[in-house]
């Protein structure tokens, strides 16, 4: 795809991100004005998506975005109430558009209808919102303003006035006169303040008093109480405030009619109205979007900073013999400062894994509804961070695998009941750091892979040879081969677009691996391992065989040093428990020491109480610190080493704790075998 479109794709990505975030806020109880602001934002977002797609020549996408825009329009006009099921449908719609954009980015042709799977739900919503003949209400006439002013109100503003009055909300007018030079900025300040008190319905031009110069406006706002003292007015700006419409004047027959209203939330206490609402504040976080080439330039600067810090470290090492402490101290400060810069630049590239999880949840809900399979979805490890670029490439394959798990993996409730399983299927998605990799597990408790069928299909396709024994591992792996499918026809949900071979290709292109396993009637596990290229790691620093090593603190259970000399193969007593000890040198194939007085107790990362624990003998405990981990290139991969970090005293090798535990156990077994 044309790289000049990078900016456009990035903008699509941002818009979808905003839409997902805004929809997520609608799932929680919010004050009416926050709901209204969110719906307005979603309306604008889909409007922009529609325009961008039209500009790029994607008419089907534009049409689908227009349909979503219409639904948000119905919501903002108060004709649709924000409910959980409505928000779920909208989430599914946004997800369908997002997947569509991912397809377009890959050069796929446009489907006829992006929202095909939601056709029924959207149709029902539109039917629900359609007013009955003669049933439309307009309470704008209750506003105490001249008719010629009211004529300026849009259809949307009419519906908002009506809905707000019927929900019992008073409507106030704030008249301001602003200076020519600064009116736009001042108007924004007033609008934001009134938006935080309640809902700003309209900003109308107003007559400038005869003795004044400037521009005057009437800001029509709905809020329980309006205190002029709380307005951000500069001297002379405020002309006055009025109660324009009192909900008490709404005919009793029209109140509580159940006409579309925003979600029901308690009316804010008067003293609370001046405090901006936390969730609306959260939405005001400015998102800075950078085109891809700028990010690349930024990353090049990151490399340059890294180089600078390396040179500083080298200089520091070379001048270590000098006795003048001042330049040393100065260099130390520079080195620390550069590490901070590196860390913050590095942080800019990272995003939390939960942003990936947030895309999965609505899709699973929608799949669950469409397939009639109740699913208990759980996530773990959302706080871990991954490079933005990797996460972006991971989304499509991930959604495909989850879709497969629900569509093909989980049985129907009746099938599950017949097997003695709970009717609700389980789908567990977890992320965990394992050594130099970030590992994702997608685990379901469904039927597992049908290995018999895979074998037959493999033989039919010529991917397997008859008469040979095919291990379960080989058969599982076969499903990752290009063109392999046991499905004769693609279902409505899966079997579209991305196949498992594409998933594998994409994961391998990221330097990762896919591993599949399953057990008949017990479930399946898809495991993805992705390498972490750079990260800041908190380490325990130790020395052994004259070299510095870092052990990630997450795996360190205890550090112990004493007078007793220990050797590899000894048992040491740690808090009343006897643990096997192996020297770090033996694990790494280095010459073994005569004896060591310090050891570090390591356990498997994230493992439960009964995990493997080994005491790792080291020559010296140096301390702890945060280090910038650089991964080793493939040709230099060494067993037990996760990567390295350039330090004042040379390279600190950061150990891969799980691999070291494995190497220690192997070494201990060899000792036993020798005896």
């Amino acid at each position: 795809m044309d790289q000049s479109l990078d900016d456009v794709w990035a903008e699509f990505e941002d818009l979808f991100g905003q839409a997902r975030q805004t929809l997520a806020t609608l799932k929680e109880p919010q004050p009416a004005h926050v709901v209204q602001a969110s719906v307005n934002s979603l309306f604008r977002t889909t409007h922009t998506l529609k325009g961008m797609a039209g500009m790029l020549g994607f008419p089907s996408f534009s049409k689908a975005a227009h349909r979503m825009e219409d639904i948000f329009d119905l919501m903002r006009k108060g004709r649709l109430r924000s409910t959980d099921s409505l928000v779920e449908t909208l989430e599914a719609g946004i997800l369908a558009l997002e997947s569509g954009v991912a397809g377009l980015r890959r050069g796929r042709s446009e489907p006829e209808d992006y929202l095909q799977s939601l056709r029924r739900q959207l149709g029902e919503l539109e039917a629900l919102a359609r007013p009955a003949e003669g049933a439309s209400q307009d309470l704008t006439s209750l506003i105490d303003l001249p008719p010629e002013v009211l004529k300026a109100l849009s259809e949307y503003e009419h519906t908002r006035v009506t809905a707000l009055l019927m929900s019992g909300m008073p409507i106030h007018g704030v008249k301001v006169c602003l200076d020519f030079a600064t009116f736009d900025e001042r108007l924004r300040v007033f609008s934001e303040a009134l938006g935080s008190f309640g809902e700003l319905i309209s900003t109308l031009p107003w007559d400038v008093p005869g003795d004044r110069e400037g521009l005057a406006f009437l800001l029509m706002t709905a809020c329980p109480v309006l205190d002029p003292a709380q307005l951000p007015a500069l001297e002379g700006e405020l002309l006055g405030t009025d109660l324009l419409a009192d909900p008490a004047r709404v005919p009793t027959s029209l109140r509580d009619e159940g006409q579309a209203q925003p979600v029901e939330v308690p009316t804010p206490e008067p003293q609370a109205v001046v405090a901006p609402v936390a969730s609306s504040q959260a939405q005001e976080v400015e998102i800075l979007r950078l085109p891809a080439h700028r990010v690349e330039a930024l990353e090049a600067r990151l490399m340059a900073v890294g180089q600078l810090r390396d040179e500083a470290s080298l200089l520091l090492r070379r001048t270590h013999q000098a006795h003048d402490d001042r330049p040393m101290a100065l260099m130390g400060h520079i080195e620390d400062g550069l590490l901070d810069v590196q860390k913050s630049l590095l942080q800019m590239r990272m995003v939390k894994v939960e942003s990936l999880f947030s895309r999965i949840e609505p899709m699973v809900k929608s799949l669950s509804r469409d397939t009639g399979k109740p699913v208990k979805l759980t996530f773990q490890g959302g706080d871990l961070e991954l490079e933005r670029s990797i996460l972006g490439k991971l989304t499509e394959p991930f959604l495909h695998m989850v879709r497969n798990a629900v569509d093909h993996g989980l049985e129907t409730p009746s099938e599950r009941a017949a097997l003695g399983k709970s009717e609700t299927g389980s789908l567990r998605i977890s992320a965990a750091q394992r050594g130099r990799n970030l590992r994702f597990d997608i685990r379901d408790d469904g039927r597992g892979f049908n290995l018999e069928r895979i074998e037959i299909r493999g033989l039919e396709l010529g991917l397997l040879k008859a008469g040979e024994v095919h291990t379960p591992e080989r058969l599982h792996r076969l499903t990752l081969e290009p063109g392999f499918s046991t499905q004769d026809t693609a279902s409505q949900l899966s079997g579209r677009g991305v196949g498992m071979d594409v998933v594998r290709a994409e994961i391998e292109a990221l330097g990762g691996e896919v591993h599949l396993s399953s057990e008949a009637r017990r479930g399946s596990l898809i495991r993805l391992s992705l390498p972490l290229s750079r990260a800041v790691v908190s380490c325990l620093k130790v020395r052994s065989a004259g070299q510095g090593f870092g052990i990630p603190l997450g795996s360190v259970v205890r550090v112990q040093a004493g007078r007793a000399v220990c050797r590899g193969g000894d048992q040491v007593l740690v808090l009343g428990r006897s643990l096997p000890l192996e020297s770090l040198q033996a694990c790494l194939g280095l010459p073994e020491p005569d004896g060591q007085r310090a050891f570090v107790v390591l356990s498997q990362q994230g493992a439960a109480a009964r995990s493997v624990e080994v005491a790792l003998g080291v020559d010296e405990i140096v301390g702890r610190g945060e280090v910038l981990l650089r991964s080793l290139p493939e040709l230099a991969h060494a067993a037990g080493i996760m990567g390295g970090s350039l330090q004042e005293e040379g390279i600190l090798w950061v150990l891969d704790p799980d691999a070291i535990l494995g190497l220690a156990m192997d070494s201990l077994m060899r000792r036993v075998a020798r005896v």
């Binding site: 490399m303 340059a304 890294g306 180089q307 390396d310 065989a545 070299q547 790494l588 194939g589 280095l590 650089r630 991964s631 080793l632 290139p633 040709l635 230099a636 991969h637 060494a638 067993a639 037990g640 080493i641 990567g643 390295g644 350039l646 040379g650 390279i651 090798w653």
Partner: protein, 143 residues
């Protein structure tokens, strides 16, 4: 191995070698190599190059390479991100006038060279980065 382009004549591991400049990122002065604990065969350690770790070839692990006592003075950084220690850089050379020979089956260096070129009294081995990388990967696999 890259075809065409110009060739750099170097001395490394006690042998005369030629490297295609098309396979070369640059030649840099030798810097101290950080030995890699539990290093894979064929790699003696790493140096930091452009902010990243760069593996450095261990000549003595390659078939047909005698252990040279001459300390390296420079490193050729190959495009596939591998540093090759050089004892000496001799200069650029025009291979078109030389007689190209396929590698002798008995020559152990055949696993990492792309034949030999005889130019007068000079017998030059042509370093083939693709074969060299494949050999290093094979070492890892056999480990």
């Amino acid at each position: 191995m890259s075809e065409g382009g110009s060739w750099l004549h170097v001395r490394a591991a006690g042998m005369d070698l030629v490297l295609s400049t098309l396979d070369l990122r640059e030649v840099v002065a030798m810097v101290p190599i950080s030995p890699l604990p539990g290093r894979p065969p064929g790699i003696q350690g790493v140096v930091v190059y452009q902010g990243e770790f760069l593996p450095v070839l261990a000549w003595e692990d390659l078939p047909g390479c005698p252990l040279s006592k001459v300390p390296p003075m420079a490193m050729a950084v190959l495009r596939p991100r591998l540093a090759i220690p050089l004892e000496r850089m001799i200069g650029m050379i025009d291979l078109s006038t030389g007689a190209h020979q396929e590698a002798d089956e008995n020559d152990l260096t055949v696993t990492w060279t792309g034949g030999r070129v005889r130019m007068g009294a000079l017998d030059l081995r042509v370093l083939d980065p693709d074969r060299l990388i494949a050999l290093l990967r094979r070492f890892r696999g056999e480990r």
